[in-house]
Symmetry: C5
Amino acid sequence: MLVNCVAYQDGRKLAEIRKEEISEYVKRPDAFVWVALKDPTPEELEEMAREFNLHQLAVEDARHGHQRPKIEEYGNSLFTVLHVIELHGDEVNIGEVNVFVGPNYILSIRQRTEHGFGEVRARAESEPELLKNGSGFVLYALMDNIVDRYFPVVDQLEIELEKIEELIFAAETPKANIKALYGLKHKLMVVRHAVEPLIEATHKLYGGRVPQVCVGTQEYFRDIYDHLLRVSSQLDGLRDMVITAMQVNLSMITLQENEVTKRLAAYAALVAVPTMIAGIYGMNFKHMPELDWMIGYPLALLAMGAIDGVLWFKFRSIGWI
Amino acid sequence: MLVNCVAYQDGRKLAEIRKEEISEYVKRPDAFVWVALKDPTPEELEEMAREFNLHQLAVEDARHGHQRPKIEEYGNSLFTVLHVIELHGDEVNIGEVNVFVGPNYILSIRQRTEHGFGEVRARAESEPELLKNGSGFVLYALMDNIVDRYFPVVDQLEIELEKIEELIFAAETPKANIKALYGLKHKLMVVRHAVEPLIEATHKLYGGRVPQVCVGTQEYFRDIYDHLLRVSSQLDGLRDMVITAMQVNLSMITLQENEVTKRLAAYAALVAVPTMIAGIYGMNFKHMPELDWMIGYPLALLAMGAIDGVLWFKFRSIGWI
Amino acid sequence: MLVNCVAYQDGRKLAEIRKEEISEYVKRPDAFVWVALKDPTPEELEEMAREFNLHQLAVEDARHGHQRPKIEEYGNSLFTVLHVIELHGDEVNIGEVNVFVGPNYILSIRQRTEHGFGEVRARAESEPELLKNGSGFVLYALMDNIVDRYFPVVDQLEIELEKIEELIFAAETPKANIKALYGLKHKLMVVRHAVEPLIEATHKLYGGRVPQVCVGTQEYFRDIYDHLLRVSSQLDGLRDMVITAMQVNLSMITLQENEVTKRLAAYAALVAVPTMIAGIYGMNFKHMPELDWMIGYPLALLAMGAIDGVLWFKFRSIGWI
Amino acid sequence: MLVNCVAYQDGRKLAEIRKEEISEYVKRPDAFVWVALKDPTPEELEEMAREFNLHQLAVEDARHGHQRPKIEEYGNSLFTVLHVIELHGDEVNIGEVNVFVGPNYILSIRQRTEHGFGEVRARAESEPELLKNGSGFVLYALMDNIVDRYFPVVDQLEIELEKIEELIFAAETPKANIKALYGLKHKLMVVRHAVEPLIEATHKLYGGRVPQVCVGTQEYFRDIYDHLLRVSSQLDGLRDMVITAMQVNLSMITLQENEVTKRLAAYAALVAVPTMIAGIYGMNFKHMPELDWMIGYPLALLAMGAIDGVLWFKFRSIGWI
Amino acid sequence: MLVNCVAYQDGRKLAEIRKEEISEYVKRPDAFVWVALKDPTPEELEEMAREFNLHQLAVEDARHGHQRPKIEEYGNSLFTVLHVIELHGDEVNIGEVNVFVGPNYILSIRQRTEHGFGEVRARAESEPELLKNGSGFVLYALMDNIVDRYFPVVDQLEIELEKIEELIFAAETPKANIKALYGLKHKLMVVRHAVEPLIEATHKLYGGRVPQVCVGTQEYFRDIYDHLLRVSSQLDGLRDMVITAMQVNLSMITLQENEVTKRLAAYAALVAVPTMIAGIYGMNFKHMPELDWMIGYPLALLAMGAIDGVLWFKFRSIGWI
């Protein structure tokens, strides 16, 4: 589905144009065309490939989807794959944005995501002196928008971890905690796969030999690179803490077993000792003077209670009960 | 066993030729010969080595088999070892494909695998404008075919992990889970050994100084490189989750022991308390007024039942039963 | 909030100047202006950006705050983000210091930290021959001051670990130990995130192509680099030991369970054996000679005591009690 | 001890020569001398050092022994340290081979190993066209021979792991398994220390600036490099699986404890319930109608048996017995 | 404290000189001065800094002490920090040696260590042809001496590990083992911090652009580099085995708990069964024929003994007792 198709010159919008006019505008020396597609059909993709003369391998990647994030040079044009991450409860939705950038065109294709780039276009159009930098600056604006949205995702995962941490130390739902930690680890892995490959790729847009379309905007791409490093380092930290939290949870479970064993031992003692005493006075010896005492029975009960009382306080003091 | 032996010129098939004619066609400037062998005898291999003037070390590697995946340059020719992975239930079958590529020949040898390359040949012949690129493009087509078949293997391993995950949280077959995770880890290792060495090797076919036969098709080899990275990152993720799943399984086992201990404690209490009461009324004291009561016995039974009832509800409420 | 605004020439203080005079002094060839802000409003920041002609991306970073530590070149000026770490009990407070450095100005902005740089200014002014090196030397002095304050933080964390270590081997508060270790791990991660990114960044200030403002003071920045490596290696060591301490704690918990189980077993035996003997003499057989003995009862009690005594010594000797 | 001392020219053996003649043959432009020593005395070593003009540091290394594997250049000669690994049951024997290579000599010294290089000499002499490459080719032949013998060692360790794996899942000898795994880990470490340092060293013999004596035989050294990578990757895999096997073993032990606890609980119940019933009918209440029944006793026994029967089947069905 | 102060020329000792003469000898073109200090006062240090014109940052590092090992270039001189490791029982003492090296002076300062360098001086003076290489060779001799003393330290740690290993598998002192392993890990970390940073630093003294004072002695520094790699690889191996030993110890503890539980279960059964039988014959049913039998009592005792005997052998055979 075609979302937008606009021609720009000198940082200002020329006109919304029809698809058929694209090749005409692309020829103008100082202008560039910005096309946005959403979940395009193979035919739409093929049409764009013809208009912009895109490389067949890149078009195939865009058609298949499910690529890893990357930035590839084809001659003097770039092909970029970015992941859009959306958390819906326990599900991580990974959308994909493919961007084809040439000296005088930029084609962005978003797939399996509701997140549009209207605000990017609006902001870009409101800063003509920056938009003058051409299609490379638009690529920056798109990447910046996508990368900035990684932060709330990571923050949400951090909040999730904090909640699990509390539960772990409360030690009341160990099984649910394991499950939650495992789920969190899984989500972290998915987000990581969206972020990591982009770091190295972005580095090539500002350091060393820079692709032609990015010349003049390197400092902007370095800014994105820096943001990606920040996300990555937060993810690393999270991953580290999740692993530790799993160990903590195992320790807490083992510790709880310890507590149970102790309590079990204590209560068993409280029952076993009176049983033993009762057993002794249940023996059938002819000559057991206590049995004939008037206060034998109350005394025996008293002894049982007293011993249990002593044991109780002892167990209390060593924390077994 | 000779599977195919065809000469090509300008991207089009010239003719199926006999082995004896190879050296003749190889001399033609624009033509190249594509030979496919399957589990060749040492003699067949030696014959090809003579026809194509292959390096003795590479031929020895092909004869011995069981090489790690690699791409080696010998003068202006390449020697490539690729692994073909097939999952048969719990078994991972590793076949080997050796490819010798020179400016005007390509010799592919597959060993210990049923998977042929008829479709590769068919597709290559149907795209003459690409096949014009010569033997380097055929190498790409073969590698692409082999690497693309890694994806379903990894997907299958991911499905396997998901199944084990469910069983882990169900916590009913801990022993079988350990075994399944260990087996999965082993398979991952095998697949990893097929994929990892190829990544660096493929990198050399498109970046830096590129071997002569690959010049002009670098972008295609970069595409393979990218696919290998994707496989590798999926494998990394899987490996990470398998390790975590093992920890989870251990935690679940420890947790289950906890449950068992608690239940054991609870039921022991339910039996021990009546036994203690019975013991008390089994004592032989002369003066135990309850013993003479008409309702002594029912009262005692009632007391036992009542205490057990209270205990039962208490254990219930704290989740021990 | 403006803290200071001073112009320097030839290593000596010229005058405290007003904000409006900055642009005038900046034009003088051998002079430089040193401005210090604290938690500035966006307007103050904007004003400074105009006076010093700062790059918009850097100004945005300073306004947003919460950047990772970094050193970025914008043309012939530098933008530096440093973290100030303060431990308040169990809380780690991360303040931020942004430094803009040009050939004839240095602007330091501290945010969310009470720690000022008055002493840095005093020391710098007392060494005119060093201050002659210009704004680059001031950057060094600021970084040196911040980095030197990492050492007491790391030392404090090391002391914290040592305290936990003692508690672990005392094995009396396993649960609190786990919590303390987890908290320590978290703090280490926070400190690490402040230190690690700075290492690579600082390396660029003395090795390879050095930014213009740092030329002539490389050996000073190498000194900072060296200090950062020291902090980092201490953090690595700490992290390693915390992980080990967690394992040790788990081992101690498991071991303690072992002890409890053994004691439980021993005491259970001490009660169970007399109960068994009592049970035997509680049997109602007609012909049980012992029952008629005058000393039957004392003998039975004696047997119970004797067996328990033997058991007691045996359990003692194998360390179960 | 001198094993061999032979002069070669143009790939063919000239003559077995005496030690005193070495310096004479070494002067001939196209000839080279190949000397083999075994566990030499310091004097023999010193003599060779004089004959071949060896560097003092290298000679010291050879005298001390116990070096890590390495390849060092001294001017236009090479000094190589290789480890020979031999498994004798549970012992790993590390022998050492030092090779000094110059343009017209090769001196191999083997220490603490019975493994000789007669077959290497025989093979080299049977291929004069390869031996023409001079002392560099002999170095290759020696290294190839040593490296090829790493494979059966690694295979043996893999077989050892497989045996332990079976025992782990059989779960009958957990203690012996731990010991076996620990021992295997130790052996892996030893083998790794023999292999790893050699990889980087060998890389220098075929890539980048190649030492003079290896020029023309680079492809042969690349072959060795490739074999070393294969050994290394097998070792990595083994190490990974050993670590996993240790975790599996711990899980199996914990699981077994689980089983024991369950069984213990089940059998305890089977004894405790009849004891409770017996206790009840052992009470001394005057009015207990069942006691007077003719069939009271058999009924009580029946009840005990019946309840135990029910419990038995229940425990069976949940797998506790 | 000044230990020595000697001038050398052409590899031979000229004279022991006074501190005041240093600057005079330093001016001679072919001579160099070798000064050794021990725990110097700030004043002594300042004096030397003046005599040799040392860089202020390096002098500050030497005054503060507690630097990480490093080798820094200041113009055409070097500043070296080395750690001297001494094991005193469970304590690791880290002394520090600072070496300032210029074209015609070498100043070594040792701090917090009793280990002197008299033997280094003696050996150097006994080899005039090597000492001719000047101050760079003296630096080598000092470093070589310090690095060679790392080997016995690592060997001692290896012996320590072996002792702990034996105790682990004996499984009699699990708590002490944990403590010992933790302590060993700590020591390893300390030693590692002394060795690791030196490796990279030493590499710069023989590879790439070599500092002026080391030119001509690169092969000697490569030898040190090689020794450091060996120490480092031993430390890596040790660290790996310590981690594994901790896991093994945990497994052994868990296993021991298993044993205890089994034994507990077995002995509990041996007591519980006779108790049950006694309970049965303690019931007060009127009609219990066995009670009237003459041999009832002995039979009951026999039954108890017989059942316990059977149980005993059964528990024996399955290894629970």
